[in-house]
């Protein structure tokens, strides 16, 4: 179709992936569950912290465009961390570890982790 939803004939021969709909392979990492929850994600986050910071900054910018006073960001940074202890084990501790490893505010990493619940409306 030349108009939305641009439905195509069923594709064939696209695998192994290549061409314009393929953006790249996904890298493998190991997370050792024998490690303390705060330490498990450190290696992975040390490699991905720039990308994570860019995403969280973009979400903050988006929130600021809707609520220009930045009150919502302050709320996330100051109030959300108070709930970290209420999350079931080991998730709260793992989120703390990710915030430490990335240098991002705990409330913002927590928001990223509960995005699904917030966006199901």
């Amino acid at each position: 179709q030349d108009v939305p939803p641009y439905t195509e004939d069923c594709r064939s021969g696209t695998y192994p992936p290549s061409g314009p709909t393929f953006k790249g392979n996904v890298s493998w990492y190991t997370v050792n569950l024998d490690q303390a929850p705060q330490e498990r994600w450190q290696k992975l986050i040390s490699e991905k912290k720039t990308a994570l910071s860019i995403l969280i900054q973009a979400i903050k910018d988006l929130a600021t465009s809707f609520f220009p006073s930045e009150k919502i960001i302050k709320l996330v940074d100051t109030k959300l961390p108070l709930l970290i202890g209420t999350l079931p084990c080991p998730f709260g501790e793992e989120i703390k570890g990710i915030a430490d490893a990335s240098g991002l505010p705990l409330g913002e990493v927590m928001l990223f982790n509960i995005f699904y619940e917030v966006f199901t409306v």
């Binding site: 030349d2 939305p4 939803p5 641009y6 439905t7 195509e8 004939d9 069923c10 594709r11 064939s12 021969g13 696209t14 695998y15 192994p16 992936p17 314009p20 709909t21 393929f22 953006k23 790249g24 392979n25 996904v26 890298s27 493998w28 990492y29 190991t30 997370v31 050792n32 569950l33 024998d34 994600w41 992975l44 986050i45 490699e47 991905k48 990308a51 994570l52 860019i54 995403l55 973009a58 979400i59 988006l62 709930l83 209420t86 999350l87 079931p88 998730f91 793992e94 989120i95 990710i98 990493v109 990223f112 982790n113 509960i114 699904y116 619940e117 917030v118 966006f119 199901t120 409306v121």
Partner: protein, 253 residues
């Protein structure tokens, strides 16, 4: 999202998904794509979760996100989760949590916990259908034996439906997008019919990683929100994930 569990003629199960996320979260005019979708792609990782040096489960996830949306317990089951939109949505669950009512489970924490602790397809199915949740969801579960595949439709408090593989009645695959399977999808977001058309055209005897990837690459099943495609085979202990992009012209959702 689009998730599918399919069984081939030999009884082998395949489980695959497109993860679509970022609707209305900023439009990048320069790249003609959703901003958050684009920024999520560099965060996609495959993770091998190990205990005592042995794999407990594998997943495709986002760096910084401790819950799971896509994963597989080798030899036992595979699991994906699709978003289910509802007025009685997760934001109510979050408010209840803040106000001290904490008897529900966070959706992605439940899927992680099931992948980590469940030891069988049946146990996983029971946990996913009976645990109280903070947000509604679709859980798509595959096993390692014939007819072990289902879509669990969940509200926050209850299991609304379990749609299972049923070869005798011709149900050799179950396919879920973001609508209850017994209702029609939104006309402006009908990925289900094109996906099912491709599955029927492929037929059970030709189902494979390749043909499922073909289906997931067909617009509008592939769309501007598609971040990654994951293909899983529990019996072969294989999980493959690929970053995706939908060149113009392409549906925004």
């Amino acid at each position: 999202c689009t998730s599918v569990v399919a069984e081939d003629k030999s009884g082998k199960l395949y489980h695959a998904r497109n993860l679509d996320f970022g609707l209305f979260l900023g439009w990048d005019v320069k790249n003609n794509s959703w901003m958050v979708t684009q920024l999520l792609r560099p965060l996609v990782v495959n993770v091998d979760f190990q205990r005592n040096g042995k794999t407990v489960f594998v997943s495709t996830s986002f760096a910084g996100y401790v819950g799971m949306l896509t994963g597989m317990k080798p030899g036992i089951f595979s699991l994906t989760m699709n978003e289910r939109f509802s007025i009685d949505g997760g934001y109510i669950g979050v408010l209840e949590w803040i106000l001290g009512k904490r008897d529900g489970m966070w959706m992605s924490f439940l899927t992680r916990s099931v992948l980590e602790n469940a030891t069988s397809y049946e146990e996983a199915k029971t946990l996913l259908s009976k645990t109280k949740l903070l947000a509604p969801a679709y859980f798509i579960l595959g096993g390692n034996k014939s007819e072990e595949g289902c879509v669990i439709t969940r509200s926050r408090a209850a299991c609304l439906d379990i749609w299972e593989l049923d070869l005798k009645n011709g149900t050799w695959y179950v396919l879920e997008t973001n609508y209850d399977h017994w209702k029609a999808p939104l006309p402006i977001d009908n990925r289900r019919d094109p996906a099912m058309k491709c599955m029927r055209r492929t037929s059970q005897q030709n189902i494979s990683f390749g043909t499922i990837y073909d289906m997931l690459s067909t617009k509008p099943v592939l769309n501007k929100l598609t971040t990654y495609t994951t293909l899983m085979s529990v019996s072969d202990n294989k999980l493959e994930a690929y970053l995706r992009i939908c060149p113009d012209p392409c549906m925004p959702w």
